[in-house]
């Protein structure tokens, strides 16, 4: 993750924090942006699963 999804600031600065973790087949990055203080999780999903309404 190179940039904050909130403000676009670089996450590769000294202060910002990016931590990878896995959830099933999904690759996740917890990102904390030192510029705007946003805490976010960016998911690189193995697939996109949608829902199907009753019909």
């Amino acid at each position: 993750m190179n940039f904050c999804p909130g403000c676009g600031a670089s996450l590769e600065t000294e202060a910002s924090f990016v931590q990878e973790f896995w959830s099933g087949a999904d690759r996740n990055f917890l990102c904390w942006c030192a510029a705007c203080d946003l805490l976010s999780t960016v998911v690189l999903p193995a697939m996109i699963v949608s829902h199907e309404p009753e019909h």
Binding site: A15, Q19, F21, W22, W32, A34
Partner: protein
């Protein structure tokens, strides 16, 4: 994984490093009360070599190890009525570092007035000596409940562990390890040794865990199999106290595990116990202090008890766990939250702000939340913890059993 650069930032505690600067904003236990005597002793904290002493007036001082004259170690020194005298040429210093005397210099010399040893403020509380290595003005020493209760007994176990303090702190936001390291592995060792069946309490499965950052650090909650959100494990929980402690216990038995960074690769671990049955404990003359051994007589790591299992898990992660090689999952979210909290607080300090858990106002006591009924039952938890934690090395173990009067559990073989 974490990048190598972020791992260094998270784990380096020396002067001038971001984590080192954050940690220097807190008071740290540097010794137990019995270490501060007329005999000066060497201590090491946050990568700095220090000398601790108590002079004839009872004043406790903490000076940098090297004498400002020609750099001999000040533990090679004599405590005088006032201050510490270097053993090499007799220069004498007070607890502020001021040089009081230079016996070899001409009588009318004012040279001593311009000489200062590096000195750090110290305070004694609850049987520990606390030191502050950061920039002035020092914040208040936080008077956490366990350090100040008047109607409790205490004892203090301690050991030097050959690993970085962050991996130990991460254990305190890792509830799942309890059912595996202590539940499964601990029971496996009991099977192998023919010591009976699995332990109660720690074998309970986790249904759900939660972490929230709050004024004291990170509050942990859990729901165990067969329990609900109405149980205190969830309703109350217990905290990781930022940046360096775990609060753990059940009614009457409340403890801190304090992780004191000696340097990047070593941690002084302090198990601080309070015993406070219903109605309070009778007065205690002084707080017993004991060392917690790491190895048995064959040189093998002791791991036939809960704290021993934790210690070996922490140490075997390596001197500084190589986080570029790890694989975190969803069950590690507590660990991730803690790392993020350290990162955020380092940034606060870098921007000139006080970090979390800085106290600037004088106060009587800081009460921390903790379950009374833990893992379902206070008595069952106490029965376990007084036997399966480092309390098993306490010189007052038998008196503690008597104080609570809990029955001997069936699983004791």
């Amino acid at each position: 994984m974490l990048s190598a650069e972020k791992n260094r930032r998270l784990t380096q505690v020396g002067p001038g490093t971001p984590m080192g600067e954050l940690l220097r904003r807190y008071w740290w236990p540097v010794a137990t009360h019995d270490m501060a005597t007329r005999v000066p002793v060497k201590r090491r904290l946050l990568g700095e070599d220090l000398v601790l002493y108590r002079d004839g007036n009872g004043t406790v001082g903490l000076l940098a190890e090297q004498c400002p004259h020609r750099r001999a170690a000040l533990w090679l020194g004599c405590t005088e009525q006032e201050g510490l005298r270097c053993g090499y040429h007799g220069w004498r210093f007070d607890e502020s570092g001021q040089c009081l005397e230079q016996p070899g210099e001409p009588a009318e010399s004012t040279f001593k007035d311009r000489i200062r040893a590096t000195a750090y403020p110290v305070q004694e509380l609850g049987g520990l000596v606390f030191a502050y290595l950061g920039p002035a003005p020092a914040p208040e020493l936080p008077r956490y409940d366990l350090f100040v209760w008047e109607d409790a007994w205490r004892d203090i176990g301690h050991a030097e562990l050959p690993c970085n303090f962050v991996q130990i702190m991460e254990n305190s936001v890792d509830p799942y390890h309890v059912e595996w390291l202590h539940g499964r592995y601990g029971s496996f060792l009991r099977e192998l040794d023919g010591r009976g069946g699995p332990l109660p309490v720690v074998t309970k499965k986790h249904v759900k865990v939660a972490f929230e950052v709050f004024e004291h650090g990170i509050l942990k909650r859990r729901v165990l199999e067969g329990h609900t959100e109405e149980d205190e494990d969830w309703k109350v929980g217990h905290p990781l106290v930022f940046p360096h402690m775990l609060r753990v216990g059940a009614a009457g038995l409340a403890t801190f595990q304090i992780r004191v960074p000696i340097d990047d690769e070593n941690t002084w671990h302090v198990w601080y116990q309070t015993y406070r049955p219903e109605g309070g404990a009778p007065p205690q003359e002084s707080v017993p202090v004991y060392e917690v051994p790491l190895r048995d007589e064959k040189g093998e790591y002791l791991r036939d008890y809960v704290d021993g299992q934790d210690i070996v898990a922490w140490i075997t992660q390596g001197r500084v766990s190589d986080r570029t090689q790890e694989h975190l999952g969803k069950s590690d979210l507590g660990v991730i939250l803690l790392r993020k909290l350290y990162a955020e607080q380092m940034d606060r300090v870098a921007s000139g702000l006080d970090p979390l858990c800085t106290y600037r106002e004088p106060h009587d006591v800081i009460d921390l939340p903790m379950e009374k009924d833990k893992f379902g039952s206070a008595v069952e938890f106490r029965q376990l913890w007084t036997r399966e934690s480092s309390i098993r090395y306490s010189p007052i173990k038998d008196e503690i059993f008597e104080l609570f009067g809990d029955p001997v559990p069936a699983w004791v073989s």
